[in-house]
């Protein structure tokens, strides 16, 4: 079966000269125009052309995005329907979840959320104009966040990165070229086509291009990734995606990586005090594990349970595992649903069942599984865990959980909150980037930091315009300047 995806360059839909590409699953393929034939039109030729979008206020941009959100309705937007049809086949998520994600995609564009994002992550004053900051030496430093010419290398496990990328690009007043992933070449294009239908000449529409080329294609990337054409590269995805890009990184190009991450959970001994707490923790943990069918970086894979590793401790952990398994099965289909396991994972789970004294397994088929470690360490294949396969690891000492955290850890869901406060600094020193009440791992505060940084601030160019009055700030040549108590702001 073939799908067609257009190339979109700044509000214009480009067709013709198509190439065919395989998608990642089930042999499906899609066609899209050959980017190499349009490579010279892809970067913004004149950086001064960013002036139009800088002339808009944040409120005007929010109004456009909110109107866009109202058009992104799965029941009546044919572009979104097409993207959904393609994503159902390629994403690895079950139909119910994909439908839910596309049906609620428009909600991400709510004015209140975007306003909060712009103000929290950057500060609307800095986006809308120059903000005067008086310095101690009398200089007035006017600061403004400007947009930049950027390439976003998108990941395709869920449609949100496409939508979030468009929002981030618009509020930072940047010009973005989205390089779409082969397992979701259509979502970003569907949103862009909706924008074109609304207003092809709107500056937000005009500063977004959507293209697919095979990652690593030198004919495209050597032309594009040059400091006179691109200032920022925002790259989602793993080592393979970064390896291609790293060749082009040089002074003048800023690389912002959104690495693949793994998340985990810690359930403190308080959860095992009585049945009610245990049940509460199991229901919350089920969500952190199984929402999006465990396809997202925020999903928990390994859970450390502070039950102890003596016989009573193992019994408590195993009982908690049964509650967890049942709680996962009870989740509504829009959150999570049974789906066949990848062969490699299914066989790892089966191998444990056959030959390991150190693990028990509940489930193991399409319903998912809970692997109960009977030793205080996770399974070796923990990075493979997905499609609702969790690993519970009993521990005597929370230190084991703390030391398991690395720079590849993203979220850690913790129960109860008091334990989170007690552990958080130590978890962060080891590499954790986000701590969250158990049960809320997949309900991220998206207007907050991301992966241990503030990507929106980094997507901007932070410019200073310094005003100095010689009667207040003496010239460097003035005899007064050399005796000035203030540090000399010389750049050697």
């Amino acid at each position: 079966m073939g799908f067609h995806v257009p190339l979109i360059i700044r509000g214009r839909i480009v067709e013709g000269d198509t190439l065919r590409f395989a998608m990642r699953r089930d042999g499906a393929a899609f066609e899209t125009p050959d980017v190499r034939r349009h490579i010279h039109a892809l970067p913004l030729a004149d950086p001064a052309d960013l002036a139009d979008i800088h002339a808009l206020s944040t409120e005007e941009i929010i109004a456009f995005l909110a109107a866009l959100g109202r058009e992104l309705r799965l029941d009546r937007n044919p572009h979104l329907q097409e993207a959904y049809a393609l994503s159902v086949r390629s994403s690895g998520l079950t139909g119910g979840i994909v439908r839910h994600l596309y049906a609620t995609l428009g909600d991400l564009f709510s004015a209140a959320f975007i306003r909060e994002l712009a103000d929290n992550a950057i500060g609307i004053d800095y986006l809308d104009g120059w903000v005067p900051r008086p310095m101690a030496n009398g200089c007035v430093c006017n600061i403004r966040a400007f947009g930049a010419r950027a390439v976003h290398v998108l990941a395709g496990n869920v449609p949100m990165p496409s939508a979030l990328g468009i929002i981030r690009n618009a509020i930072t007043r940047s010009d973005a070229i989205f390089k779409t992933p082969s397992n979701d070449p259509a979502t970003a294009a569907a949103i862009a086509r909706t924008m074109i239908a609304m207003d092809p000449d709107h500056p937000v529409t005009r500063h977004l291009s959507i293209a697919y080329w095979k990652g690593g294609d030198e004919a495209v990337e050597a032309e594009l990734y040059r400091p006179d054409r691109i200032e920022k590269i925002i790259a989602w995805g793993g080592q393979a995606s970064i390896t291609h890009i790293a060749r082009y990184i040089q002074p003048g190009i800023d690389l912002i990586t959104m690495d693949p991450k793994l998340s985990s959970s810690i359930v403190g001994r308080e959860a095992f005090a009585d049945d009610r707490s245990m049940h509460d923790a199991a229901v919350r943990l089920a969500l952190d594990i199984a929402y999006f069918n465990q396809q997202a970086c925020a999903n928990s894979r390994v859970t450390y349970v502070e039950t102890g590793t003596d016989a009573a401790g193992l019994a408590a952990a195993n009982r908690f595992g049964t509650l967890l398994f049942d709680a996962i099965q009870a989740l509504p289909e829009t959150c999570s649903a049974a789906a066949p396991l990848d062969t490699a994972l299914a066989e790892e789970v089966q191998a444990l069942r056959l030959a390991s004294f150190d693990h028990k397994v509940i489930g193991g088929g399409a319903e998912g599984a809970v692997i109960l470690s009977q030793i205080d360490e996770p399974v070796d294949f923990a990075p493979l865990l997905n499609n609702r396969v969790a690993n519970l690891v009993p521990i005597d000492d929370l230190d084991i959980a703390v030391r398991s955290v690395t720079s590849y850890t993203q979220s850690i869901g913790i129960y109860p909150d008091a334990l989170k406060e007690r552990l958080r600094d130590r978890l962060v020193f080891n590499g954790a980037q986000r701590l969250v009440s158990l049960g809320y791992a997949c309900k991220a505060a998206m207007a907050g930091p991301h992966d241990g940084m503030e990507p929106l601030r980094r997507m901007c160019k932070w410019i200073s315009d310094e005003s100095n009055d010689p009667s207040v700030v003496p010239l460097l040549s003035s005899p007064k300047a050399t005796t000035d108590a203030q540090p000399r702001n010389e750049f050697a």
Binding site: G238, Q239, T343, E347, A351, A355, F357, D380, P383
Partner: protein
């Protein structure tokens, strides 16, 4: 023709090709069915892993060949031990785990004193009849297969049988197997299948004469280094190489590694001295694969050597001629150095005692002691045992009497069952096309170096250890 019995399937491999490939298909299937019934009954209570699997699948006896399909073990089971056993030197626990896969009782083996995998392998060799074979570990973890002494002898038989004559086909080796030294393009010692085979070949074919085994490197392929090398490769592919922890024992062995690396040129000199002193222009049997043959040819070229062996020598070229990252001229370089002997492809795996060699029509024929299965790669369901189809390959080796030799590979094969069509070479029974590939390759992420890549990976791991320990010294 010798009579063969379903009670002793381990004898079938002793039949010459002219006999085993002449058994009518219906008889092959009857014999296999009965032999499978016997093997299962004999092993199900002696091998804990098999007992568990049979219980899960509710199988109490085998009545049809197809009954075995649910009892094929994914190859990942052979690496289902926790990695921490190796990292923390828990070789007692590793022994306990291995005990689940073998009919031998390993409970009396005290491995608490072992501090490396090599040490552990040596201990099992000394104290038991198990000869553990490890994988290259390219997935990040070594697999351990507990082959027993009885199956080791069957490996030798398999080696012998590949040189049986077949009408209309050129003999693969121009002299009797006992007259041709084994040239091994790798480390002389180690724990992988071929390393394990060499001493048995030496004793069975050459009366214990070590001079008849000529390896390009006289030292040991360390399982510990292989383990590091696999983990390094996986860590690198994830961008986590900086996080790899090296066991203290390997750190201590750094000096030995350094010395060995520095002697690589010397090893080659000594190798060619042994060849030119006695074997130039004569018929030999080379156990190799294309990249290793290429390296050998380049080393020969550096020393001005060419036409090393007679053209009726046997040259095993591993899994095939394609897919190597070699210059186009590799074939000419190899032919010039070796003297023009044909390169012979084969299909085999550690779990099966002997490889199949490509026949005159370019197929791999499956002898009756090796029972094939074909599964749907997505559902895992058995495909019908008739006609021709492509799917995931599984097999059981009826030679195995000390471990359960029913495995699911990661290979995609095209299998002809031999009932609706037959190969032009005249062999009766199922056969495979040469177009064999790994599913991981097909899915785009080839995370597996075949044995062809292992020595290179081994050397890279040595470099890593050397650099690492150098930096921290």
């Amino acid at each position: 023709m010798a009579t063969i019995s379903a009670d002793r399937p381990e004898d079938w491999i002793e039949l010459p090709q002219a006999e085993i490939y002449a058994i009518p298909l219906a008889d092959q299937q009857r014999l296999q069915r009965e032999a499978l019934r016997g093997r299962f009954a004999q092993l199900v209570d002696r091998i804990p892993m098999l007992r568990q699997l049979a219980q899960e699948q509710h199988i109490i006896e085998i009545t049809e060949i197809a009954d075995i399909a649910p009892l094929l073990v994914p190859h990942s089971a052979l690496k289902s031990y926790p990695m921490s056993f190796l990292e923390n030197g828990r070789f007692d626990r590793l022994t306990q785990w291995l005990d689940g896969f073998t009919a031998y009782d390993l409970s009396g083996v005290d491995a608490r004193g072992c501090d490396s995998i090599d040490d552990w392998l040596d201990l099992l060799d000394a104290r038991t009849d198990v000869r553990v074979m490890h994988s290259t570990g390219t997935s990040g973890k070594l697999s351990f297969l507990p082959r027993g002494i009885p199956e080791m002898h069957k490996m030798v038989s398999g080696q012998r049988r590949q040189f049986d004559p077949w009408p209309g086909e050129r003999p693969l080796l121009g002299v009797p197997i006992e007259a041709a030294p084994v040239i091994y393009t790798q480390y002389r010692h180690g724990g992988m299948a071929q390393h394990r085979l060499l001493p048995f070949l030496r004793d069975a074919l050459f009366g214990g004469d070590e001079d008849m085994i000529i390896a390009t490197n006289p030292t040991r392929f360390s399982a510990d280094v292989a383990s590091i090398s696999g983990r390094l490769r996986v860590a690198e592919s994830r961008g986590e190489a900086g996080m790899l922890k090296i066991a203290p024992r390997l750190m201590e062995r750094r000096e030995a590694f350094l010395r060995d690396q520095a002697r690589s040129g010397e090893h080659w000199d000594a190798f060619f001295d042994r060849i030119t002193g006695r074997w130039t222009g004569r018929t030999v049997s080379i156990m190799g694969h294309v990249p290793a043959l290429h390296v050998l040819a380049l080393e020969a070229g550096k020393r001005g050597l060419s036409g090393l062996f007679a053209a009726d020598s046997f040259v095993a070229a591993g899994g095939g001629m394609k897919g190597h990252d070699l210059p186009e001229s590799w074939r000419a370089t190899v032919d010039h150095a070796l003297g023009g002997a044909a390169l012979v492809e084969g299909y085999g795996m550690t779990e099966i005692v002997a490889a199949s060699r490509a026949c005159g029509s370019g197929h791999y024929h499956i002898p009756a002691w090796h029972v094939p299965f074909l599964l749907d790669p997505a559902s895992g369901e058995s495909l019908p045992r008739t006609g021709t189809a492509t799917g995931r390959y599984g097999a059981i080796d009826l030679n195995a009497s000390t471990y359960w030799a029913g495995f699911l590979t990661g290979d995609e094969v095209t299998l002809h069952w031999g009932d609706t069509e037959s190969c032009a070479c005249g062999r009766i029974g199922p056969y495979l096309d040469k177009t064999i590939r790994r599913y991981t390759e097909k899915e785009g992420g080839d995370d597996k170096i075949t044995c062809a890549g292992a020595p290179g990976a081994h050397d890279r791991a040595l470099e890593f250890i050397v650099e690492n320990t150098g930096a921290s010294a």
